[in-house]
């Protein structure tokens, strides 16, 4: 089953994402911010990373840029999961290398559908 890394500074949000994804059979790892996520991603392999944007230490878009710089994550789907929804921020996300953008609060079925789509 696909291995997914979920990155969010809110424990409640990490838990909700993990419960949603594990219920569908995915293996889920957690990280609290971009910096932890980057460290973990460098030494582990993931098929998908889902990240929040506003986080301490390293924000989600910087994480996406950093991951795209790693050979092993050049083609890995990277989804952004955030309360931000302006067109400029989405464009910024796309330019950073994000595969898709999901707005919080998320609908579990929709999240699973997006995950299934990008993992295909």
């Amino acid at each position: 089953m696909a291995r997914i890394l979920t990155v969010d500074d809110s424990a409640a949000m990490r838990q909700m994402v993990e419960v949603t994804l594990t219920s569908a059979g995915y293996d889920v790892a957690q990280a609290c911010d971009g910096r932890e996520a980057l460290g973990i991603a460098e030494t582990n392999t993931f098929d998908l990373v889902i990240t929040d944007v506003n986080m301490p230490e390293m924000d989600g878009l910087t994480l996406v840029r950093e991951l795209r710089g790693l050979a092993s994550y050049r083609h890995t789907p990277l989804l952004v999961l955030t309360t931000e929804a302006t067109a400029e921020r989405k464009l910024e996300g796309r330019e950073a290398g994000a595969t898709g953008w999901i707005v919080k609060p998320f609908n579990p079925d929709k999240l699973l559908a997006t995950v299934a789509k990008v993992l295909k």
């Binding site: 990280a31 932890e36 460290g39 973990i40």
Partner: protein
């Protein structure tokens, strides 16, 4: 890596170091220490062992492997020490020490005298920077240390680094990252060294118990361990070994106790006994 870069790298090196050398030494490290080095640790192996080759006047890693195969144990110890020694620093990954002060030691201050027992384990303490940073955090947070029962257990596989940890002597350069206030309070000038050096004060040493321990062997200590620093340790083990090690650590902890990992480590696929509560900070469920 393509072959042109490989041969280029080989030419630039002081000692010949082929893939078969790396694979053989890697297998030996695994057999002797249980530590599994990834493909990415090629440079680390070369860098750490080049010093041994120079000391022994050898010209290639092939010669070094031959020497190891005929060795009676002396060089094998040097070999293990060279590979497992971690570069470390005082208050490395400072958020762990902040968390220790604010969320472990702080709340404990309000407990009645009977609850003032705290056990902290620095697993993989190397030359002592980590356990002494823990000790400094403890002394900064706890005003009346003599009324507490606080012990820091510092262990490592490598006997050389443990000797350094016990002595607690560091060059002034190593102390540069410390604030002047900390250096004044916790260190005193040490004159019996070539370079300007400092030694940790007895109030720090008193909190520590330094012991040699192979993490693959049964743990001699009894729990519960309120806080375990196990940073940049599991990264050297394969997943199965990580699972077994964390399961044994978990048995020494009670719900609510903490486990700190290194910046690139995770309990993903390793243990479900813990919940992530902060950056590489896990709480025993």
């Amino acid at each position: 890596m393509d072959t042109s870069t490989t041969s280029l790298t080989l030419k630039l090196r002081e000692f010949e170091f082929g893939d078969e050398d790396f694979q053989a030494l890697r297998a030996l490290v695994r057999d002797v220490t249980g530590i599994s080095l990834s493909e990415q640790k090629r440079e680390l192996v070369y860098g750490r062992l080049a010093r041994r080759l120079r000391a022994l006047n050898l010209r290639s890693f092939r010669e070094y492997r031959e020497l190891l195969s005929q060795d009676d144990g002396g060089e094998l110890v040097q070999f293990c020490n060279a590979i497992t020694t971690n570069l470390t620093a005082f208050f490395r990954e400072p958020h762990h020490f902040d968390h220790l002060k604010q969320d472990v030691l702080g709340p404990l201050l309000h407990k009645p005298a009977a609850g003032r027992r705290l056990r902290i384990w620095s697993a993989g303490c190397s030359t002592g920077e980590e356990p002494y940073s823990i000790a400094m955090s403890v002394l900064e947070a706890v005003p009346d240390i003599e009324r507490w029962d606080i012990r820091i257990l510092a262990t490592d596989l490598d006997s050389d680094v443990l000797e350094k940890a016990r002595r607690g002597v560091y060059t002034a350069e190593r102390l540069q990252t410390l604030s002047a206030e900390r250096r004044e309070r916790f260190f005193e000038p040490y004159h019996d060294a070539k370079e300007p050096s400092y030694q940790v004060r007895p109030e720090l040493t008193r909190l520590l118990t330094v012991k040699q321990l192979n993490l693959m062997h049964p743990f001699p200590m009894k729990g519960p361990l309120d806080v375990v620093f196990c940073r940049n340790v599991v990264i050297y083990f394969d997943k199965d070994t990580q699972r077994e090690l964390v399961a044994r650590v978990s048995r020494l902890q009670r719900p609510g106790n903490l486990l700190f990992l290194g910046h690139s480590e995770t309990l993903f696929k390793v243990s479900t006994d813990y919940t992530l509560i902060g950056r590489t900070i896990y709480r025993r469920s």
